[in-house]
């Protein structure tokens, strides 16, 4: 019954979409029902935001700007980058528990397992970004550049997370177990998050580190989100940021899909 229609492009498109939604739904449920995952992905960043603002904030010179104003835009960017490490952990878990085998033996859309997961993760980033903006507002952060740029700032952070999710998905299907997936994230996340303009102005760093920090995707995206939130020069960081997002997607989306098809 299903097979005759299967070859029609219209049906195939609808099924790609509906399969993706089913998988996304499953991953969102998983996120909601794993209390420790919810705790770590919400309480931990809230705590970090408070610590950075109140512990280091006073000592970091940001050119007259209140530190929370400087910190929060970057915080939105780092939270999605850290959040994206969950994608590889979840996929590695699905692989080790045979879920991926089950999905691959079903007559479902081949791309849906990855698309569904990245969609669910993108919803998660949206939630995290909004939560952080709320906490930021409670401790003194304010958007100074109007509503539309504020929305654009949040959207850019989420989009940035979407790009990194595909990198993370590729890692999740390349490593051999869940533990490796967990630690693999930190290898790349810490350098790009800390060696950036997120916590401190990069002018305070040694020259060699500045060179890295300037081209770091976290820096250019933080600068863009900051400019959208507070005003200031936007063209230069914006195109660099979009170039990074496009580049990451262009490389890691096909790599991840290819990996999924050829799981040994």
């Amino acid at each position: 019954m299903m097979d005759a229609k299967a070859s029609l492009p219209a049906y195939r498109f609808v099924w790609n979409f509906s399969d993706t939604i089913v998988i996304a739904w499953r991953n969102v449920l998983r996120f909601i029902r794993l209390p420790q995952l919810l705790v770590f992905s919400t309480i931990q960043p809230v705590m970090l935001l408070l610590l950075f603002n109140y512990v280091f904030g006073g000592a970091i010179g940001t050119g007259g700007l209140k530190y929370i104003q400087y910190l929060l835009p970057g915080f939105l960017v780092q939270i999605v980058v850290f959040g994206s490490s969950q994608t590889s952990v979840g996929l590695a878990e699905d692989l080790s528990r045979g879920m991926i085998d089950r999905f691959r033996s079903l007559p479902m859309a081949r791309a849906a397992v990855l698309a569904g997961r990245t969609l669910a993760d993108t919803l998660r980033y949206t939630f995290l970004v909004l939560l952080m903006i709320g906490v930021g507002y409670a401790i003194g952060f304010r958007f100074h550049n109007g509503v539309a740029p504020a929305i654009a700032a949040a959207a850019l952070a989420v989009l940035f997370g979407f790009a990194f999710t595909w990198l993370s998905a590729f890692i999740g299907m390349s490593v051999k177990d869940v533990e490796t997936a967990q630690v693999a994230g930190f290898v790349w996340i810490f350098p790009i998050v800390f060696a950036s303009s997120m916590f401190v102005p990069i002018a305070t760093m040694p020259g060699w580190l500045q060179a890295f920090a300037k081209i770091n995707p976290v820096t250019v995206t933080t600068d863009t989100v900051r400019a959208l939130a507070l005003g200031g020069g936007i063209i230069d960081p914006l195109w660099k940021s979009l170039a990074w997002i496009g580049g990451l997607l262009l490389v890691f989306l096909p790599l991840a899909v290819r990996r999924y098809r050829r799981i040994p």
């Binding site: 794993l34 528990r97 879920m99 033996s105 079903l106 869940v178 040994p264």
Partner: protein
């Protein structure tokens, strides 16, 4: 290799059999998982692939369920090539893998509905089918509980139910009862028998001789990636040298070698000794007259018996006479390795 187009492939074999494989080979690095394997399973029957861990059972199932490509050879499900027509094959098969693939964070019902939706059943139909399966697999009471709290037996049943959502005509079960207690195993056997009665073709892999004997009309014995013998359980038992075994247990365990020498000329097959338990088994045809002779000889040599009995050969005896090693001896060592692997929660990418 057999790079035949469908037209030149031996059509009879391909189209008559529900599952067939020709010259199937697969290597992982230097390890040969499958070596030129041929197999055919008739529609509506159940075939057991019997062999120890590492014999290639899971590799075979993964190739037939389109999860893995063979290095050489071809395989078909209901006449569809598992490589070329993979998408079509996926609509015809159900797979229950070696470990239950259930989403722990979803309830039993949600797991089945999810699979139903992925088979593109309409929402209502997916729900109806989920309820039907929960009922049939004795999971209705736990339907709204998360699979995380399910017992091993319940997970297995849920996994099997998930593989049946689309009522596939061909079912692959990779060690379906591994790690289950005897009662759960019996329950699962009854379910499988019922499916076959309803017309499903089943290929199951097992290390349990009892399981193959009980379920399968046809058994293929797999060792080192090749099928070394196949036939009915009765046939396999007979081909190992006799239709009955005389088994003696000695009061003095150190005498097993001596006894095997004394009885050496009497039997119709290879004598098997187990020094650890002091047992000696002698395959014979038409046992009773030889039984008396065995007792006479042993008595004359002054060997004291703790027990003597006639028994039916088990598939373990078959495996031993075919391969020279027992199923348990190789299964136990790899079972240990498997436990270690599971405790580290490594992904299952074994053979």
């Amino acid at each position: 290799m057999a790079e035949d187009s469908p037209a030149t492939a031996p059509l009879n074999k391909v189209s008559d059999a529900a599952i067939s494989a020709q010259g199937l080979s697969k290597k992982f690095g230097k390890v040969t998982a499958l070596n030129n394997l041929d197999l055919a399973v008739s529609p509506g029957t159940i075939m057991a692939l019997l062999g120890p861990n590492g014999a290639g059972k899971t590799t075979f199932v993964r190739i037939l369920t389109t999860l893995l490509s063979p290095d050489a050879g071809q395989a078909w499900v209901l006449g569809y090539n598992v490589v070329r027509d993979a998408a079509k094959v996926r609509t015809l098969i159900g797979l229950a893998g070696q470990y239950p693939a259930v989403d722990e964070n979803l309830t039993g019902r949600e797991n089945l509905e999810m699979v139903g939706r992925l088979y593109h059943l309409p929402g209502q139909e997916a729900r109806r089918r989920a309820n039907e399966l929960l009922e049939g697999f004795d999971l209705a009471g736990a339907a709204n509980r998360r699979a995380k709290v399910y017992s091993g037996g319940m997970r297995r049943r849920l996994d099997l139910a998930a593989s049946l959502v689309a009522k596939p005509p061909v079912l692959f079960l990779d060690e379906p009862t591994a790690g289950l207690d005897p009662r759960s195993r019996l329950g699962l056997w009854e379910i499988i028998e019922k499916l076959v009665k309803e017309g499903t073709t089943v290929l199951l892999t097992t290390q349990y001789l009892e399981e193959a004997d009980r379920l399968a009309g046809h058994i293929a014995v797999l060792d080192n990636g090749s099928i070394i013998e196949q036939g009915t359980a009765e046939y396999l038992k007979k081909c190992c040298g006799g239709d009955v075994l005389i088994q003696v247990r000695l009061a003095d365990r150190s005498q097993t070698e001596l006894v095997s020498q004394i009885l050496g000329t009497l039997g119709d097959g290879k004598i098997r000794t187990t020094p650890e338990t002091g047992e000696v088994s002698l395959p014979v045809v038409g046992g009773t007259s030889i039984l008396a002779e065995v007792v006479r000889r042993l008595d004359a040599s002054g060997v004291v018996l703790a027990d003597i009995a006639l028994r039916q050969p088990t598939l373990d005896d078959v495996f031993l006479s075919l391969t020279g090693h027992t199923v348990e001896s190789s299964a136990q060592s790899s079972a240990k390795a498997k436990d270690a692997e599971v405790s580290k929660r490594k992904p299952r990418r074994g053979l």
